[in-house]
């Protein structure tokens, strides 16, 4: 099980703990397309981590099945299954007695790869996560910052080139600035490696930024809604989802789109002192700009500063109706 991303299917998955009347996860059914990032979000007690850990059977499935690319996880040997799935946790869990390179090489070594291949792979991955191998491979985890540790954790999870990755609130323990950087880093890496990723978070903004699909779970492990971030923001399935994504969902929706994705009205040049913004600006920032400059319209400019069109408050207001 390695190489190309695989589709992950939850098929009526239920988790019941002995002695508890209510299941932790109830009849969860969803399909995560190959190469997509699926964020599991929800309040605590919604079973998001439980659902994720059933994929590599750190938690046993009570009922139903999970398939990774047609292959049922229940049919696979436990260690083989886990070695074929990247696993990243919040506290990273690097082995403190091993160098960074040895940490990254953990799974390839278990799989018995030849020495040269392991070393080359470790170097390649460290470079991928932006920790130059020459500087970092001989260091110990105690010599790294929190952000650097999580990068090593990511490299370690990618080592055997698994088709799927599980990430359990991986950026929950780092400071906000580092978190932002790691989130964008993950998107950049995902562009290169294209894995099917299940990403657990309680932070809806993180989910909106990262996810191709968001699964919102509610207390009792019931799936409240499963869709793209746009669809969830514009059409929340019910009151629970609406409350969970927040009253500013309109703004969050605007943050998903950029000015150059709109059909712009031709510009007449606008008022000379009116607001201007490049096409890469999000609609949310454009709106903010109009409000702070007291203008009902904004001129979109290209790289050379030439106007390419105009956007108005009315356009933004009509957008998601």
């Amino acid at each position: 099980m390695s190489g190309a991303a695989a589709e992950i299917v939850f098929d009526h998955v239920t988790k019941r703990y002995p002695g508890r009347p209510e299941p932790a996860v109830r009849e969860l059914t969803l399909t995560i397309p190959a190469g997509a990032i699926c964020c599991l979000v929800g309040p605590s007690g919604a079973g998001k981590t439980t659902a994720m850990k059933m994929v590599n059977r750190l938690i046993d499935i009570t009922d139903g099945d999970i398939r990774i690319g047609e292959q049922s996880v229940r049919a696979l040997d436990l260690t083989e299954l886990r070695r074929g799935i990247g696993y990243v946790i919040q506290q990273v869990g690097l082995f403190p007695h091993m160098t960074v390179a040895d940490n990254v090489a953990t799974v390839p070594r278990l799989l018995g790869w030849p020495k040269e291949r392991i070393q080359a792979r470790a170097d390649e991955l460290l470079d991928l996560v932006d920790l130059p191998a020459v500087d970092y491979r001989e260091r110990f985890p105690a010599q790294l910052s929190g952000g650097e540790r999580q990068r090593v954790g990511l490299a370690r999870a990618l080592a055997s080139d698994p088709p799927a990755m599980l990430m359990d609130e991986p950026f929950g323990a780092v400071d906000p600035i580092t978190r932002k950087r790691l989130q964008h880093e993950l998107l950049r890496i995902q562009n290169e490696v294209r894995k099917t990723i299940i990403f657990v978070t309680h932070d809806i903004d993180e989910a909106i930024l990262l996810a191709d699909r968001i699964a919102i779970l509610r207390e009792g492990g019931v799936l409240a809604q499963y869709d793209t971030p746009e669809a969830i923001l514009s059409h929340p399935a019910d009151e629970f989802v609406e409350r969970f994504i927040g009253a500013d969902r309109g703004l969050k929706l605007l943050a998903l789109k950029r000015l150059d994705e709109l059909d712009l009205a031709p510009s007449d040049g606008g008022a000379p002192d009116g607001p201007r913004a490049p096409g890469s600006t999000t609609l949310r920032d454009a709106l903010s700009l109009m409000i702070t400059s007291g203008s009902r319209s904004l001129v979109v400019i290209d790289d050379a500063g030439r106007p390419t069109g105009v956007v108005t408050l009315d356009v933004l207001a009509e957008l998601e109706r």
Partner: protein, 244 residues
Amino acid sequence: MTPPPTLLAQQEPVIPDFGEGSACVTENRLFCPDWVRDNWATVIEPALVEHVKLTVIAVVVGFAIAFAAALVTYRYRRFETPFLTFSAIVYTIPSLALFQLLVPVTGLTVTTVEIALVGYTLLILYRNILEGLRGVPADVLEAARGMGLTRRQTLWRVELPLAVPAIMAGLRVAVVSTIALATVAALVIPEGLGYPIFVALREAFKTEIIVAGGLAVAFALVADGLLVLVQRALTPWARARRTA
């Protein structure tokens, strides 16, 4: 009831011959280098070698037993109380009393001495090995499990290496205390650095007491130093700190 054996009476005491010694020896001055020179090969050196042997055997056997017990306890918690109680009771028995208990069974032999010495190492080694294993952070164990390490691989590649500092700390205490305790072996057998000390005590012969006692202390210091070096070699990661 038969009277307990009077241990020291079993051995012919070696009385230093004050008549033929140097003036220093006959006057029993504080320290006579000439006596040391004359008796090094016949008395002191053999005693030191025996002492090293007694210590090494006791620590190796004690470590093997404590290690096995700690591994069992690490998996099956219910064994903790029995193991801990047993080793704690052994530890609290005074060595003299323990010899008295053992001599009727195993006689005036090395076995008697080793059983006692091993017994005293168990508590400290068992506790430290177990504490070392239990000190492995939960997130490290979860990562190991999530990556598909088997239990055995986790034990040998992750848990035991991370327990090394605690294990070595226990080993250092065990070695030093065994070296000190092994002098009492002379109550049972004429071996170890304790024997020349006992002999010299009878005559209040200062030089022999100082030499044998001093060697026991030096041996303890050297052994402890060697263990520190071993630990440093085994745990380069423990000293690695963020430099930036």
